[in-house]
């Protein structure tokens, strides 16, 4: 039987006939994997520094992890001044582990506690939201708050004033010493910053007062550890409102989401169609041979096995080739899409698209196998042989 299979696979005419189909399958799989791998492996990493109402949405949307530390102060004055929300989200490709999260929270809590300094009794709440970062990427994490926080901190001018510090000074929070990277005015206007720092902090958190109405001369909604992606997120404009940026951002995301939705559906349909077409083609080209085998005493099971082995072998080869092909092209697609839409990839497709494709393929292969077996077991041999 092994020899039989080998001989069947080596049949030149068969390979000729299916070469075109293999190429089409290859391309289709390439496109599909291109999309999948792009979103899975090469998604920008970064932070979302945003308003309270939006952070959870964007963090969830991008698979980020969003923390909100909010002060809940009964003091109207302090509440108004420091009802700051601090949030950051991480995108796929990085994550914090539990310890870091806890440290972050403690660290920030300490900060605000010290600022409160007994005049105002503060209560803090740490909100944790769901995160969707695949665990296998955790080891690739390249940023975390403690590591980056060592570079320093940006302070609201009022806080800086209260502490008596300015840019380039150092402050102690507990046993931690941090440089003051910059000082910004309430409302987000940059007051001063260390010259070797970008206008907004490259530390991994940012405190925004009244962020909804904040006005920035330069705003990075999110950025990553890589400079090229960092640039993408930079919106430089005078009197730029965060809320406007977020609105625009939201629209962009919705647009790309739609595109990806359509793309995923189209690709899924295309792949399923091509798989089916491949089977159909193979069936047609092999049907006569299966009849000949049946004439010689092959059972339906044998015929199905031979047929399915050929078909699945071809599909497997095409898939492997397409996967390798797509890894290269995915980089290209990432760049193009990022530049074109100025946004990153919607996270939700990372989750269901591979599973949908895989499930679809398994379903098609399974159904086809069963169908084949039924057909092979009941081939109208005399008729088929006569047609041949």
């Amino acid at each position: 039987m092994k020899k039989l299979l080998k001989l069947s696979l080596l049949e030149a005419s068969f390979l000729k006939r299916t070469l075109v189909v293999i190429f089409v399958i290859f391309t289709a799989f390439g496109a599909a994997f291109l999309a999948v791998i792009s979103v899975m492996l090469d998604t920008p990493r970064g932070m979302i520094a945003g308003i309270d109402a939006s952070k959870q949405y964007y963090a969830n949307l991008y698979g980020g992890e969003c923390f909100a530390l909010q002060t809940e102060n009964r003091s109207a004055d302090f509440a108004e001044r420091y009802s700051a929300c601090l949030c950051y989200g991480t995108l796929a490709g990085t994550t914090f582990d539990a310890e870091l999260r806890r440290d972050d929270a403690v660290f920030l809590t300490d900060l605000v506690t010290q600022l409160g300094n007994g005049d105002h009794k503060l209560e803090y709440r740490v909100e944790r939201h769901g995160y969707f970062i695949p665990r296998q990427y955790a080891s690739r994490a390249q940023f975390g708050l403690p590591q980056n926080a060592e570079r320093g901190i940006w302070l609201c001018s009022e806080i800086a004033s209260a502490l008596g510090v300015q840019s380039r000074d150092e402050i102690f929070l507990g046993d931690r010493r941090l440089s003051v990277l910059g000082v910004y005015e309430r409302g987000g206007v940059i007051h001063s910053y260390a010259e070797d720092e970008p206008v907004l902090p490259s530390a991994w958190f940012y405190v925004v007062d009244n962020a909804e109405n904040a006005v920035f001369d330069t705003l990075y909604l999110a950025y990553t550890s890589t400079r090229d992606i960092f640039d993408v997120w930079q919106r430089a404009d005078e009197n730029l409102r965060l809320s406007d940026i977020l609105t625009q951002w939201h629209d962009d995301i919705a647009l790309v989401q739609t595109y990806y939705g359509y793309l995923a559906i189209l690709l899924g349909a295309l792949i399923l169609f091509l798989l089916y077409a491949l089977f159909a083609l193979l069936y047609r080209s092999r049907k006569a041979q299966m009849c000949r085998f049946a004439l010689l005493g092959a059972t339906g099971t044998t015929a199905t096995f031979i047929y399915a082995a050929i078909a699945l072998g071809v599909i497997l080869c095409a898939t492997v080739l397409a996967s390798a092909f797509s890894v290269v092209l995915s980089k290209f697609l990432l760049r193009v899409c990022t530049r074109l839409f100025n946004v990153t990839y919607p996270y939700r497709f990372r989750v269901w698209l591979p599973f949908a494709l895989l499930g679809g393929c398994v379903l098609v292969v399974g159904i086809t196998f069963v169908w084949l077996h039924k057909r092979m077991s009941r081939l109208p041999i005399a008729q088929e042989v006569r047609h041949e």
Binding site: F293, L295, G297, T299
Partner: protein, 224 residues
């Protein structure tokens, strides 16, 4: 022994029924060389196909060595085609990219005989006079040679019955004579040969001629 009783085969084409076989009764004894003749559409190939389990009757019974072949389960049908009967068709139905040797080996592999089949294959090929061409691809052979390979393939599992459907239909006179001689040799060796042909000259070489018309046997005679 093959026994056919009340065999009917009906094809439904549109609203009309077409009877390819209408109540055929016949018996074929062991070691007979039977030629089934008749015009196109007379039902001779249908009869052969049903005997070979390539087709199913609408009604009637075909027993081979006392067993009703219509009651065979799929595995038994496969075994029957593999070991009890050997098919030879007008169009050869060889695997064109396989060598002559591989083509003849196929029934042995399907029978689970995956060991050294060289002796059996060479014997079959020598029987049809193609022992020297065993390494050649089937598609490179002439029509007559391909038909002889098909015969070798049909006999390699040593079946008791050879079912041949127009075995000389695609061959010239010389090759037809060669094929008919091989079939006669097989008959002489004790095989039961059932041959469908529309050629009276070929039919005359059989020991019995069954003539069909409109799905019925109209004449059944022994030859001299």
């Amino acid at each position: 022994m093959i026994s056919v009783k009340g065999l009917t085969k009906k094809y439904v084409t549109g609203k009309t029924d077409f009877f390819a076989l209408s109540g055929v009764d016949m018996e074929i004894g062991d070691g007979e060389f039977v030629a089934i003749t008749g015009k196109s559409g007379s039902g001779k190939s249908t009869l052969l196909n049903i005997i070979g389990t390539l087709d199913e009757p609408t009604s009637g019974v075909v027993t081979v060595d006392g067993e009703d072949i219509s009651k065979f389960r799929p595995k038994a049908v496969a075994a029957y085609r593999n070991k009890t009967v050997g098919f030879v068709f007008q169009a050869f139905y060889l695997e064109p990219s396989y060598t002559v040797y591989d083509n003849v080996e196929l029934p042995l592999i399907l029978a689970g005989k995956t060991g050294d089949n060289g002796d059996k294959i060479n014997a079959a090929l020598n029987m049809v006079g193609l022992g020297h061409k065993s390494a050649e691809k089937a598609r490179t052979l002439s029509g007559g040679e391909q038909q002889r390979v098909a015969i070798a393939r049909a006999i390699v599992n040593d079946p008791r019955y050879i079912l041949a459907d127009e075995p000389c239909g695609n061959l010239d006179t010389t090759n037809s004579d060669n094929v008919m001689k091989i079939l006669a040799d097989l008959h002489a060796q004790g095989k039961t040969v059932i041959m469908v042909t529309h050629d009276a000259e070929d039919a005359a070489k059989a020991s019995r001629i069954v003539t069909m018309s409109d799905g019925k046997i109209v004449k059944d005679e022994k030859t001299a």
